[in-house]
């Protein structure tokens, strides 16, 4: 299904192409071609040059006979067409083109992949009345579309549709519960949660692309506000810690470790038996080194002082919490815990993989 605004954006585009094919447009078309050929390969710099080019072309359109007596809106449509044409042509050279951008994309997406495994709405204090799986799913889908378009405007439309779904939800809830329509304090946490759920591909690069190449005069007001919210959701995610998810830092770390473990098992079970064997060995090494962090393993029970017992109790609690969340994570992966433990016991790491693969497959 295509949203009306996306359809409209197509009309603009074809109208623009049509005009560009007319003999009268030959001169304009030549300037576009030569501009496209002239770009350097530095995103920031290109951004400034593309913006300057939009402005120059706007002036050229206004003075051109093809747009004689054109309304402000008609010129605007032509400029939308121009943006789409230019950026589609430049897409491969400007989108996620640098190794740094690719690395940032991978980092964000990996982090979200881990967060997805344990972050729940309550970690962001999203009130129960705003839990609405259907709306959230819709918002997720809208946001994920961001990577299916090449023009900055179309990408931005995906952000706006996602935010609109959230706002509709907030509005409906406030109307039906006679509540104050909520502000940023309810909007932002939901957007963050949606972003985690969606893990939109190339989030970093998509945001950067829109900021650099969307016509400056259009990145204002409401559009700018909602784009800023997504940028800030990304920043929140990149810097997330225990405190920002309403939990103790060590609990957060534990969740992240468990999530990593889950990812490893998942990845291992999907890769070749050999590859998976190595990754499990790595995992066991970790267990061993952790073992040495637990004192009292060789102590006599009778010789423990009260203070030591207290310490031991603390450690016991830690072990139980870890174990509980680990087995929960494993259950999610449909892996049989006893078999896993047994296979760790007899030190044959390949068995674990086999089991994991069987379990998942």
């Amino acid at each position: 299904m295509e949203s009306p605004s996306l359809a409209a954006s197509r009309v603009d585009f074809y109208g623009f192409l049509d005009r560009m094919r007319r003999p009268a447009a030959a001169g304009l078309f030549r300037s576009i071609k030569s501009f496209l050929a002239s770009l350097s390969l530095d995103a920031e710099e290109d951004g400034a040059r593309v913006q300057a080019f939009y402005a120059a072309m706007e002036a050229a359109f206004r003075e051109h006979p093809l747009w004689a007596n054109a309304t402000h809106q008609e010129i605007d449509h032509a400029l939308e067409g121009l943006e789409k044409y230019v950026m589609t042509k430049l897409f491969d050279r400007t989108f996620a083109a640098s190794p740094e951008d690719a690395a940032a994309d991978a980092e964000v997406s990996e982090r979200i992949g881990l967060l997805q495994r344990f972050v729940r709405p309550q970690h962001l204090d999203i009130p129960k009345v705003l839990h609405n799986e259907a709306s959230w799913l819709l918002a997720v889908k809208e946001l994920q579309k961001i990577n299916s378009f090449k023009s900055p405007r179309d990408k931005l439309l995906c952000v706006m549709s996602c935010c609109q779904v959230i706002n509709n939800l907030l509005l409906n809830v406030s109307m039906s519960n006679d509540r104050t329509p909520s502000g940023a304090d309810e909007f932002l946490p939901i957007l963050i949660y949606i972003t985690i759920k969606a893990n939109p591909p190339h989030l970093h690069s998509n945001l950067k692309f829109v900021q650099l190449f969307r016509r400056e005069t259009k990145l204002v007001s409401e559009v700018e506000y909602y784009l800023t919210n997504l940028i800030s959701a990304k920043m929140f995610i990149v810097n997330v810690d225990g405190r920002s998810l309403s939990m103790e830092e060590n609990e957060f770390q534990m969740h992240m470790e468990t999530a990593k473990l889950g990812t490893q098992i998942c990845a291992a079970s999907l890769s070749s038996p050999q590859g998976s064997a190595t990754s499990t060995r790595g995992l066991q090494k970790q267990t061993d080194t952790q073992g040495s962090r637990f004192p009292f393993m060789d102590s006599e029970t009778e010789s423990l002082t009260a203070a030591e017992l207290k310490q031991l109790h603390g450690l016991y609690r830690q072990v139980v919490t870890r174990y509980a969340s680990l087995s929960k994570a494993l259950r999610k992966l449909f892996i049989d815990e006893d078999q896993l433990l047994a296979s760790v016991d007899d030190d044959s790491s390949t068995d674990v993989k086999m089991l994991a693969r069987d379990g998942i497959g």
Binding site: R153, T180, K218, S221, N239
Partner: protein
């Protein structure tokens, strides 16, 4: 929740048109990005809603979200000011994100709650932040909200006024609940806006 009872009547239009024209500001029609800062629960969202609703004009395009709102204010000198109000989330965990929001803002309203000393400390933190990272000519207002709760007051208006004076801020106490001083707050900000000098 509950600084209000009802919603603006007609705002079903959806998020503002992405093509919405950034109608050029001229010397008679000004536009202002205004950001709201302050601790969680001091009443930021309620202040904006009160301002926007109080002068609700069915012909103006009021948008669905309550986190971005715009409102046009007509002044006596026949200029109009279009406020574009950026609400921010007040919880501590979002504090680091604030610079993304106040960048490029022409005005900031820093809100505290007159019944909470702690919220004034938080407001002072925001003032320092804005002085360090905000634009030089940003208009800043210090607002003591929930003035209707005077029997629970813990922050004296004199202290707040002195602090505001020292920091070149405009100070007012408001109540989003009774609408007290809400319009005055925005009018005062509008008056302080630098007028573009007409081309000579």
């Amino acid at each position: 929740m509950g600084c209000s009872s009802s919603l603006p009547a007609s705002n079903a239009g959806g998020i503002g048109n992405i093509n919405n024209d950034n109608s050029a500001t001229d010397s008679k029609n000004l536009k202002l990005k205004l950001v709201l800062l302050g601790d969680s629960g001091v009443g930021k969202s309620c202040i904006v809603l009160r301002f926007v609703r109080g002068q609700f004009d069915p012909t103006s395009k009021v948008t669905v979200g309550a986190s971005f709102l715009s409102q046009v204010l007509a002044l006596e000198d026949s200029t109009t000011v279009k406020f574009e109000i950026w609400d921010t989330a007040g919880q501590e965990r979002y504090a680091a994100l604030a610079p993304l929001y106040y960048r490029g803002a022409g005005a900031a309203i820093v809100v505290y709650d007159i019944t909470s000393e702690e919220s004034l400390n938080k407001a002072q933190y925001w003032v320092k932040e804005l002085q360090k990272h905000g634009s030089q000519d940003m208009i800043m207002a210090l607002v003591g909200n929930k003035a209707d709760l005077h029997e629970k007051r813990t922050v004296s208006s004199q202290d707040a006024q002195e602090y505001a004076d020292r920091n070149n801020m405009f100070f007012v106490e408001t109540s989003a609940k009774t609408a007290d001083n809400i319009n005055q707050l925005f009018e005062e900000i509008a008056k302080r806006l630098p007028r573009p000098t007409p081309p000579s």
